[in-house]
Amino acid sequence: MDPGAALVGLFGTLAVLVVATWLAAVLDGLGRALAVHQPVGLAALAAAPLARLGRLVRRADVIPANADGGLLWSAPVMAVAVVLLLAGVVPLGPGLVIADLNIGLFYVIVLLAPFVVALMNAGWGANAKYGVLGAFRAAGHLLAYEVPFGFAAIGAPMAAESLSLVKIVEGQDRLWYGVWQPVGFAIYLVSAAIITYRPPFDLPAADDLGGGVLADVSGPRYLLLRGSMLALWVLVSALGAVLFLGGWLGPLLPGPVWLVLKTAALMLAMSWVGYRLPRLRVDQMLGLSWKVLLPGTFLHIAITGVVILLQTGG
């Protein structure tokens, strides 16, 4: 691989991710404002994340006494690494993807677990009660979403007969998968909210734990961890657009613009609905996952399988 092209690819991805994170913060604020019927100007919304960024960069990085330095340092590094690796697989357009792996979707599902480990390291390494509690709530999230997320997302490869994300988008040129897989789409969105700790599932970094895993994190490390959580939300929403809403397919506008529009629409919808609902406790979230989402995914796989068999004539 050409090292020059690799570096350009790396920095390009980073730049796109930073912009995407800003967009995510803006949409998050917009969703919250819409959910609580609070009028707010778009300019203020756009500027707020930048102001926060400026504050956080200048703030000191406070490390608690007896903290586990290695674990604390590893957390933002792992989080950013996972986000970068994920961003390499999402296709922006017909040829605009860094690496079209033929195990694309499986690769994404695999990479979601180390992100949780990064957050757990941040919580445990702080050597404080709230951090540890937040870390174990994050582990509970992982156990809750891993299976429903995978089973809900598998409907698209079943229809496209490939795990490659590019082939999945190309398979939707006649009809988007989200139209005839509504159950899977809904479960995917709920699981996506769980894995990115969006409200109403934002326990591990929630205010009632004083910030949970992020309780003892401040300054640039907080910026990196929060930023990577937002970036993960963007990537998972983009993946939802790729899997269920046709990716870059659409008339008139160029492919990447369509993808951005669809991703933004999904993010706004998740944010608005999420802020309207009360926060779920850990046991409620786990119950929802195992008792509602998982049987729902079985139903989704059954329906999808039957439709595919009928289409191809048995």
Binding site: D68, F106, Y107, P114, L142
Partner: protein, 436 residues
Amino acid sequence: MVEWLAFVLLAVIAVGGSLGMLLTMSMYRAAIFLMASFVALAGLFILLQADLLAAIQVMMNVGGMLVMLLFMVALMMDPGGEMMWDMKRKMGLPGFSALSMSMPRSPPPAEAARPEDRPRTGGSNTDWTCPMHPEVSAPGPGSCPKCSMDLAPRAALQPEAAPAADTDTDTYACPMHPEVQSSAPGQCPKCGMNLVPREAAQEPSATTYTCPMHPDVQSPTPGKCPKCGMDLVLQAELQAPAPAATTYTCPMHPEVQSSTPGKCPKCSMDLVPQEDPQAVAGPTAYTCPMHPEVRSSTPGKCPKCSMDLVPDESAAPMAGHAGMQHGGEGGMHHGGDGAMPRMSPAAHYKMMVDMAMSTALLPWAIAIGVVSALLLSWVLLRATWPLSPTGPNADDVSVVGELLLSRYMIGFEGAAYLILAGVIGAVLLGKREHRR
């Protein structure tokens, strides 16, 4: 060239992660080390052009190690390793990292009678035994060597073998003075109250356990105080005058002093008898091991270096006991001199047995590991293996999918689910032995 670099880096992480897991005292870090080792193995699979296997390796092992981590945090007393690291540092235990916390390989030299060997007041209580193994007999409290349950006095477990005064329904006792007992109703010679039958009296019987710190906690069986977690002791012993100079202290927290054996309220280690003659009245002066000019009459932390203050032996009035002290700690390694109260070899032995992370087979384990690695390398490297001239064809990965969906695999997966269902059923439905 790049491939060689990648291979060496990944190999170092793989071996280093595995060794790090075994050598670290923190259990959380052990799981993270192992995760890193397995992810390095996945990187090696990518080098070997088996991308699907690399993805499967990462997925299974990150999740698996997370589960191991959760179990270790649930089952261990010190999952962060801080207490053991502290102990290693303060006591100067030899060995690298976790290898210093290994099971002692020989029992300590025999000693003169220790306080808990002295007969207790009340002859029926000298014999401690295990509720499950009555053949076990010990002179004092401890753990059963067979099942590690807490020992209890034989009188408490076999009331019919004890003197008849214990559970005889004809016994009358004074509510204020339980040691006053009579086989007929009457008056208490000490306070003049009417004697009442044992069951009606609210005073403790010989089988009532109470907490040394919370006398209102009473229980008919040994266990732990619900308020502070200390072991319950026989109330009869608490009220009887304890033998002089048997103060128990925690090896890690010398300021914890107790007149009964039990567990330290700060770190729940077993208290060990303190041979320090000052323990009778409590040490009168405390000093810092690093700054002898710092003196205090109360335990605490040195204002200069925040180490724990330790009792000042130089003020000991009894020179006669000094010989026993020096003889007692002759076998110990002194890293931080005076940072810990001097412990007899028996107490040190007991503490190491409690805290050890490695078994007594440690040198054998090292030998077996090294010899097996060398033997395997020799066997694998001296053979000439058939090498294929071509590499893998990248388009054939779909063959794996077809193989996975064949009917044999579905049968295998079904068997796997049955096994998992059995395991879950066993864990959820298995009977629990009723804990005391």
